[in-house]
Symmetry: C2
Subunit: 329 residues, 2 copies
């Protein structure tokens, strides 16, 4: 019988989902970034859980405080993608037996730092002994129904856009995991992209207020992978004709003779937002996010044809369904 | 520096709490069984997380389906103690790499079974690879503020009562963990107490509606330990003059020459409710819970003096602050 590794995360979620009774009044699909239920009129309670596991989510060089902060950011990023303000957080911790008092303190400090950065309070939790570090966060917020942006609404002709540049975390992970070198001045930035990720909450909230978005997701599983998720959910394809690659990633790629496209498309652990926008509201949407201090960069267009292609300099390449997936690396 | 084992769970929670900014409008204390925030008028959102860890929470003989179901019951029991109806659940899973497709299926089935037993729907979650089985549940429900029963309200003179008998899980764990034997007819019941625990949700909801409760907790960490928690939170002591011991536990104790009091006081993993009741509302409270199909048994009285004593047959014994605590066994 198939083991976890050969199943992959998507199939595992499907198997579990098949065992579950479906709540009649669910607002978002089971596979969207957050869960939401209607609580009165058009008000929703929005929920999210995401678990950080030491072995797979904490690269060498990441401190406990950074790991705990990252566990929060992972969850906040999904709220950002849906345009919902997170309010409170609970945390279930599995702590290794050899943890010291200072380790516990650092973990608590990282949780608080991550939460407060986004206006969230940690209001409860649970601690346990475990063989590996486990930080399981649970986020709750509230939203008006019409502000929530799902993965499913993209239509052919919609503009595809992102909130930032790509490639730094993939390069940073190559430094931290594979020991690749980089000049001092860019090494710090590349490592920081991995160690101190930021969720685009301000941007996500500004975007959801414009009414211009038709679909949204974060890029935590990689730009390519997330485009496929949007494509599956909305039943559209994409032509991508520009990928904003961070200049540090370009330089790192040049030094190590790597493909900067590869770093940007298949990196993962990068918490930008990928959105589709109604063309007639593009200017307004862009203006609103800029007013909030963020940026929105056009990268392509949604198509009726279900393929996802990269079209640059007159050349067309298929973007592969590849990314970082638990159990399947 | 102190390691986890010597710190104990209470101290660990305290260290983490010291790192956290306190939310101004929190309704319950950080150490209560659930967390709650005011969402409008007198309406509260009530949240709980509790993590099941394979190594420490799943005894030999417990199937995956039972383990997943138990993870739900652990969380529902805390809602029961606070008198709040749980509504939806998210689950973060850490699954061992050698898990097979059928193991995933069983886990999903157990989660659904546990949830539906108490009217809850599983509406989302997250899966990860981990070195041990981790089932981290997050429960959300809503409550009117005046119905929520904290740990803090017990006053001297209040009646202490429980919703069921004790001792079966301690005996069951001795069978499952230490291989002790028992006659067929009671062995099944003792093992079932461990493998198929039940949360007293119906009872908790009936109790919170009476207005008779001053404090409430579940007995998941053991009767003695939970009495100490109530005592700490409410600043009272207790004289206990009756502990309802299950007849199967009495027989098991007799066969193995064990103290049935020990099995009942220090067992843990038993999901009864322990409540304090205003004396003038005792009859009404008891009637209400019986109407719901449950039972309420007087076991003692709250006292101004902070000690917790067992007073039976004219003899007085101090009940020890002992129970099942993570990291300290």
């Amino acid at each position: 019988m198939a083991s976890l590794e050969s199943l992959g995360e998507k199939k595992i979620i499907q198997i579990i989902q098949e065992q579950l009774d479906v709540m009649p009044s669910l607002v978002l699909g089971f596979k969207d970034d957050v869960s939401a239920i209607s609580i009165d009129g058009d008000r929703l309670a929005v929920l999210k859980t995401d678990m950080l596991v030491g072995e797979t989510d904490v690269p060498p060089g990441m401190s406990l405080k950074q790991a705990a902060r990252k566990a929060v950011v992972m969850n906040v990023s999904d709220f950002a993608a849906k345009g919902v303000t997170p309010l409170v957080m609970l945390v279930s911790l599995g702590l290794p037996r050899d943890f010291k008092e200072d380790d516990v303190k650092e973990t608590g400090a990282g949780l608080n730092e991550g939460a407060r950065e986004y206006g969230v309070y940690v209001i409860g939790g649970d601690t346990n002994e475990a063989s590996d570090l486990i930080i399981s966060c649970f986020l709750l917020g509230f939203s008006k129904k019409e502000r929530l942006v799902s993965r499913c609404g993209a239509r052919p002709g919609d503009i595809v856009a992102v909130t930032g540049e790509f490639g730094k975390t993939a390069a940073g992970l190559k430094i931290l995991l594979e020991g690749l070198s980089a000049p001092k001045k860019i090494e710090k930035k590349l490592k920081e992209a991995v160690l101190l990720p930021k969720a685009r909450l301000k941007e996500g909230l500004a975007l959801s207020g414009t009414g211009g978005l038709t679909a949204s997701i974060d890029s935590s599983d990689g730009l390519a992978w997330s485009l496929y998720e949007l494509s599956d959910a909305s039943n559209v394809g994409f032509i991508i004709n520009r990928v904003p690659v961070a200049k540090e990633a370009v330089e790192f790629a040049r030094i190590h003779n790597l493909d900067p496209w590869e770093l940007s498309l298949y990196g993962g652990e990068e918490y930008e937002l990928i959105v589709t926008v109604k063309p007639e509201l593009w200017e307004k949407t862009k203006r609103e996010i800029e007013r909030s201090g963020g940026a929105l960069m056009k990268i392509g267009v949604a198509t009726e044809e279900r393929r996802i292609r990269l079209q640059v300099d007159g050349e067309t390449r298929i973007i592969k369904r590849k990314g970082w997936e638990h159990f399947k690396m």
